[in-house]
Symmetry: C2
Subunit: 205 residues, 2 copies
DNA sequence: AAACTATCTGTACGAATGTCCAGTAATCTA
DNA sequence: TAGATTACTGGACATTCGTACAGATAGTTT
């Protein structure tokens, strides 16, 4: 059994510890402060350990991006589940998400953004990006029923978060809620079909 | 006269050449590829020349951010002038701006975004950020007449642009226009007062 | 127990980096 | 013309970086 090999499970644990440490390093000092040595020190492992688990520094960063995206999708799935149980509007989901990203989860959000920007120049990373993005859009589409509107809502909310990060602004919960409600109210009214039909996702931009 | 000193004007010219080269370097390889040597090579000057004009690398980056912000504000002022002559709606201005930023000006826009992100960890740069941001919001406010709506519109349009950059997506002009028109139509309807009253800018978030 | 394998580490090396400094050349001032 | 000022340059130095590699350690298999 591979899964119960004591060496492998410990190896996987330290691998994850390195990734978590990378997030902390990015959040603290930016992408440029990520080196094998800084991450190893933060994770409490030897320098060579990082090169063992991740052959090159780019591999380490890509794995960090994947890890962050995975947790993001997990939180997304949780939100979906809550919505399925009813009594949970799009505004609720988006508001709580924004409050989290700009509050307790802000450090990880910033690290995520820096990695996403780095992916602009690394085509190999693009698959991770589009997957998580499609996940978010599909959730919103589940509420709104229109792909175009879903994309617009996501862009706007994303811009709200990015903008407040860049401006080092910490909006209140009420500010977040007001922004989301204004935004959603518009597209909610404009939605052509509220029922969840089998969507034919267009591949055009 | 200081202004007509031949040495100084040439010095200022090469200083600007270095800043322009820095933008090109960032656009080509990202912030991490900015070194005294790469910028000097791109600008066609000696390595020591960059350290002469900018004592430290951080100074060079900050000056680059200021330079990019200045040109952005200049284009903003131009748009305002066009609007004053009438027959130029907010949707027109925002659409052309987005098309430019995501098209011919995309490289500089990406460089600008990377620098803006870098400012998150550099408090000394924040003044540049808030100044340009306030400029944009004031322009939108000129059309919409409501500060809150202006902020929301800016956030949404900004998110649209950032998102397409991260996704390496090149939206068509029609896509940009449709997004802007949907966005503006909402807040345009909701505007409480179209006339340009003397605004009392609130300092709250 | 013995052979094997996966994880981990100390150490090292060439390359690249930020920054300094002693000069040189061009221009201005008096 | 003589001196002062400004822009610019080649070269150097200490530091940090990515990465490789031989060996040590510990868990698994036979």
């Amino acid at each position: 059994m591979i899964a119960t090999d004591g060496r492998r499970v410990r190896g996987e644990a330290s691998r994850q510890a390195i990734l978590d440490a990378a997030v902390r390093v990015i959040a603290a000092g930016g992408l440029s402060s990520v080196t094998h040595r800084t991450v190893a020190a933060e994770a409490g492992v030897s320098t060579a350990s990082t090169t063992y688990h991740f052959a090159t520094l780019d591999d380490l960063l890509q794995a960090t991006l994947s890890s962050l995206s995975a947790t993001g999708v997990a939180r997304l799935a949780q939100a979906v589940e809550l919505s399925e149980s009813g009594a949970f509007t799009l505004a609720d989901a988006a508001t709580t998400f924004l409050i989290e990203e700009l509050g307790p989860n802000r450090d990880a959000f910033i690290a995520n953004l820096e990695l996403q920007f780095a992916s602009v120049r690394r085509p190999a990373w693009s698959t991770v990006m589009t997957n998580t993005y499609d996940g978010f859009v599909e959730l919103i589409e589940h509420y709104v029923g229109d792909e175009h509107a879903a994309r617009a809502i996501f862009s706007a909310a994303f811009g709200f978060a990015v903008h407040h990060v860049i401006q080092d602004s910490h909006p209140t919960d009420a500010t977040c809620r007001r922004f989301v409600e204004d935004l959603v109210a518009h597209y909610d009214v404009a939605k052509p079909n509220r029922s969840r039909s089998r969507r034919t996702r267009s591949s055009k931009r």
